[in-house]
Symmetry: C2
Subunit: 456 residues, 2 copies
C-alpha cells in the first residue's frame, strides 16, 4: 500500500499529542469530580450482541448501528438466493455483534445481568467511545466519547441536586464561566399539553416548542396548527409560554400559579421546587439554573426533570444534558428500576475550550524540560540528572543524540517544552547547569538544587 | 428481549466498579510514568480502513481482524452468484473498515500520514483497546487494552536504557518486587545461526529455542534436527547456550568472547554492552536485567535489542515486552524510520496484582465516607457537610433516601466505604458529628474540623 493512499475512515479522527493533552485534562477533570461525588467507574465491552442493541433506538437508530461481520467464513449459512431477500434479512446470517451506540443501553444490560449482586442505589460513571454510522459533518463524528454518570435505583431528587453541583464543579475546574443550566420537567410538558386541551400529545407539541431557540413563535404556531392542534390550543400555549427564566422570577411563580389545577404539571413543579430549594444552599449553582418550558430533550425514556448545559456567547451548543427516568431496564423485561443520569460530550467541551482560546494555554508536551545532549561522553551524567528531576515530579527528557544545538533547541520549540538545560564538560566539573527559559529567551547558571526548586 | 437471554459476546468482559478501581490505578500509574519520561499521548480511531490493516499480521492475523459491515445496504454491490466465490472475495464488497488489531500498525499509519509535520524523535504513548477474533480462553480475550510507548526516528540506545528505567519505575509504583527483564538481541540470534553453520536460518532456530523455558534441551534439539539443521549445528548450539544469566556473569563474558569473530553477534553484544554500561548508574534497574539467548519474541519486524518482563514465582507470564525495529513504516512505502517500543499488557498486570493479593488492598469504592440520611429534614445540612468534605478533597456521598439505618450501613459495607458519618437533629444542634470506622466498628463524636482532619 502506497503512502499516498493512506487515510482514516471518514468521521473518525486521530488525536495527536497536543489535542490529547487537552482531552486528557478534560477526562481527568470530569473523572475526578464524578469520583468526588461517590460515583464509581464501569466499563462495558465495545461489542454487544446485536440482539441487545436492536430495537432500542428506533428504526433510524438501528440503521446507524455499526454491525460486525461474523469471523471466519461469514457466508457459511448464506445461500445465493438469500441475496435477493435484501440486506435486512441477510444481516442475521452474517452478523451477531455490533458496536455500542450509547452508554445507556449497555448500562441497562449490565444492571439487569447483575441485578442480584449489585448494591442499589448504584452510582456509576462510564467514559468510553460510542459509534454511529451517521453522515459526518461539523461537530458530528462516527466515533466519539460519552462521559455518563447515573444513579440507578432511587427516586430521590437529591441526585438531581448533586448533578447540578457536579456540573458547576466541572465548569469551574475547566474555567468555563459563562453558561446556564436549562431545566424542565416531562410532567410539566404533559401537563401543558393537557391544560391547553390536547392531553397525551406532549411529544408532538414538544418537538415544535423545542425549535423556539432557533425560530420565532409564529413558525412554531404554524407548525402546531399544521400538526392538527386547535387555534385555542395554540393561543393558550402562547399565553403560558415563558422565555428562559430564573426560578426566582415572578414569571416562574405566575406560570406555576396558573397551572396549579393541573395535577401532572403540579407534580412537575413540586419536583423542581424541591430541587431549587435544596440547591439554594449553593447560590453559585442556583444562579446558573434556568427554567425553560421549551426544553424537551429527545429521548422518550425520560419521565421527570430534564436539563441541558448551554454555554453562552459562543457557537458551541449544549455540552451536557440528562434527566430522570422511571424505567431504565424495562426494555429487557425488568420493571421498576428508576434513576437519573447525565452525560458530558467531550468533543463539544473540547470545541468550547478551543473557541474560548483555552486550549493553547494548556500543556502541549509531556516534558517540562529538555536536557540537551551537549556531549556524548556525558550521557551518564545527563541520565542521573534526569533521574533526579523525575524523582522530584518533573517530567523531562534527554535529546537522544548528540545533534547540533540548533536542532535540539528546535525540537524543544516544536514540542513546546518550556525549559532547556545545557551542561557541558566544564559546567559539570564546576557543578553548575545552564537553565534556559524558551518563552523569554533568558538563561541562568545554577546548581542542581536551585534547578529543581525552579522547575518544580 | 427477555432478561434471561442477556449476555455479552464471548471473550469480552464487563468491568464493574471494583475491577475498574484497580484497572484505573494501573492505567494512571503507567500513564504517569510514561509522561514523566517525556512521552506524549496519542489516540487513533478504533476503526481503520481495512486496506490499512490487511497483510500486516500474516494470513492468520488477517483472519483474526474484526471486519465492520458497510452501513446502509451492504448488499448493493453483491450479486447472488458472488456467494459462490466464497467469503474472502465477498469481503471486499461488504466491508471497508475493521477494528484495530494492535497499536503498532496505527502508529505506523499515523507517522506516515503526518511525517511532514511531526517532530522527530517522536515519543508517543497510546493506551487503547484492540480486538482479535481469537478463540477465547483463560487470559485470552477478544477485546483487551494495550499500553504502548515508542520512540520513533532515532537509533539511540539511550531509549532502551530509559525503557528499562520506566519498567522498573512502573513495577516499583505497583509494588511488584519479584520480576526479571529478559533481554536478547536479534543480531545475536542472527550471529548465532551463522556461527553454528546455518546463516539466515535464525527465525526457524529461534522458534525452537524459544521453547526452552517450557521443555528440555533434548526436545529442542530433536525439533531442530527435524527441521533439517545438522548434528554439528545442534552440538555447537548446545555448547554455546546459556541459561538466563546476569550481564555481570562470567558466562555472559565467555559467550561474548567465543562469538567475537562473528560480526553480526559482535554488533549485538556491543549494543547490549552499551545499554548495560549506561544502566549501571542505576543498580536497582540493572539487578533486574538478565541475558536470555533463547528469547526471540515473535514479531518479525524487530531488528535490535528485544526484551520481556517476567514476574517470578507466579503463574502469570510476561506482562510487558518490546524491542527495536529498523523499519516502522516500510509496509506503507516509507523507509528509514527506525525506533524502539514496548507495551504493557493491562490484563496480565491485573491478573498478576490479583495473584499477589494486591487488588483487595486497593480502594474498591470512589467514596471514602458515607453520610447517613438520618433525618429527611436535615438534608440541607448534609449537603453542606458533603460540600465541605469535597472541597477538602474527600470523596463522599449521602444516602439518597432516609431509609433504615441498618440498610444504609449495609450499603456502605457492600460498597466497602470505610467511614460513615451520622448526624441527627440533636447532634447538629450541638455542632457534633458521629464518625464510625466500619473496619474496626469504633465510633467517636467530633466537630467538623476534626472530622475533616481525620478523613483527609
Amino acid at each position: 500500500m502506497a503512502k499516498e493512499n493512506l487515510s482514516i475512515p471518514r468521521g473518525t479522527r486521530d488525536f495527536g499529542p497536543q489535542q490529547m493533552m487537552v482531552r486528557n485534562h478534560i477526562f481527568s477533570t470530569i473523572r475526578s469530580v464524578f469520583e468526588r461525588f461517590g460515583f464509581a467507574p464501569l466499563e462495558t465491552p465495545s461489542m454487544e450482541n446485536l440482539s441487545v442493541l436492536t430495537g432500542k433506538y428506533g428504526d433510524e437508530g438501528d440503521q446507524l448501528i455499526y454491525k460486525i461481520l461474523n469471523s471466519g467464513d461469514f457466508l457459511s449459512e448464506v445461500k445465493p438466493e438469500d441475496v435477493q431477500n435484501g440486506h435486512k434479512a441477510m444481516l442475521r446470517k452474517v452478523s451477531e455483534k455490533a458496536l455500542r451506540y450509547d452508554l445507556t443501553v449497555p448500562l441497562a444490560r449490565y444492571v439487569v445481568m447483575n441485578r442480584n449482586t449489585l448494591t442499589f442505589p448504584f452510582k456509576r460513571y462510564q467514559m468510553q467511545p460510542v459509534w454511529r454510522a451517521d453522515r459526518p459533518s461539523f461537530g458530528r463524528y462516527r466515533e466519539f466519547y460519552q462521559c455518563d454518570a447515573d444513579v440507578v435505583g432511587t427516586k430521590s431528587l437529591i441526585c438531581e441536586v448533586e448533578i447540578m453541583q457536579m456540573i458547576a464543579e466541572v465548569m469551574e475546574r475547566l474555567e468555563i464561566k459563562d453558561y446556564i443550566i436549562k431545566i424542565n420537567h416531562r410532567q410539566i410538558l404533559a401537563g401543558l399539553a393537557d391544560f391547553c386541551g390536547a392531553p397525551g400529545r406532549e411529544a408532538e407539541m414538544s418537538v415544535s416548542l423545542d425549535k423556539l431557540d432557533k425560530v420565532e413563535w409564529k413558525v412554531v404556531a404554524d407548525e402546531l396548527i399544521q400538526k392538527g392542534f386547535s387555534e385555542t390550543f395554540v393561543q393558550k400555549l402562547e399565553q403560558l409560554r415563558t422565555g428562559i427564566i430564573s426560578f426566582l422570577s415572578a414569571d416562574f411563580q405566575k406560570l406555576k400559579e396558573e397551572m396549579k389545577s393541573n395535577e401532572l404539571a403540579a407534580k412537575g413543579f413540586a419536583d423542581l421546587d424541591a430541587i431549587v430549594n435544596l440547591v439554594s444552599g449553593f447560590p453559585e449553582v442556583l444562579e446558573k439554573m434556568r427554567f425553560d418550558l421549551s426544553l424537551a430533550r429527545g429521548l422518550s425514556y425520560y419521565s421527570g426533570p430534564i436539563f441541558e448545559v448551554v454555554p453562552q456567547g459562543v457557537k458551541v451548543g449544549s455540552i451536557s444534558g440528562g434527566g430522570r427516568y422511571d424505567e431504565l431496564t424495562s426494555v429487557f423485561g425488568v420493571d421498576g428500576i428508576p434513576g437519573v443520569g447525565f452525560s458530558f460530550g467531550i468533543d463539544r467541551v473540547y470545541d468550547l475550550l478551543s473557541e474560548l482560546g483555552k486550549t493553547s494555554a494548556m500543556p502541549s508536551s509531556a516534558s517540562k524540560v529538555l536536557v540537551v545532549q551537549f556531549d556524548e561522553n556525558q550521557v551518564p551524567f545527563y541520565l542521573s540528572l534526569l533521574s533526579t528531576l523525575r524523582k522530584s515530579g518533573i517530567s523531562c527528557e534527554l535529546y537522544p543524540e548528540a545533534a547540533k544545538l540548533k536542532k535540539q533547541f528546535a525540537y524543544a520549540d516544536a514540542k513546546q517544552i518550556p525549559w532547556v538545560v545545557v551542561a557541558g564538560e566544564d559546567e559539570i566539573k564546576e557543578n553548575v547547569l545552564t537553565l534556559k527559559d524558551l518563552g523569554t529567551g533568558t538563561q541562568k547558571k545554577m546548581g542542581l538544587l536551585e534547578l529543581v526548586e525552579k522547575l518544580r
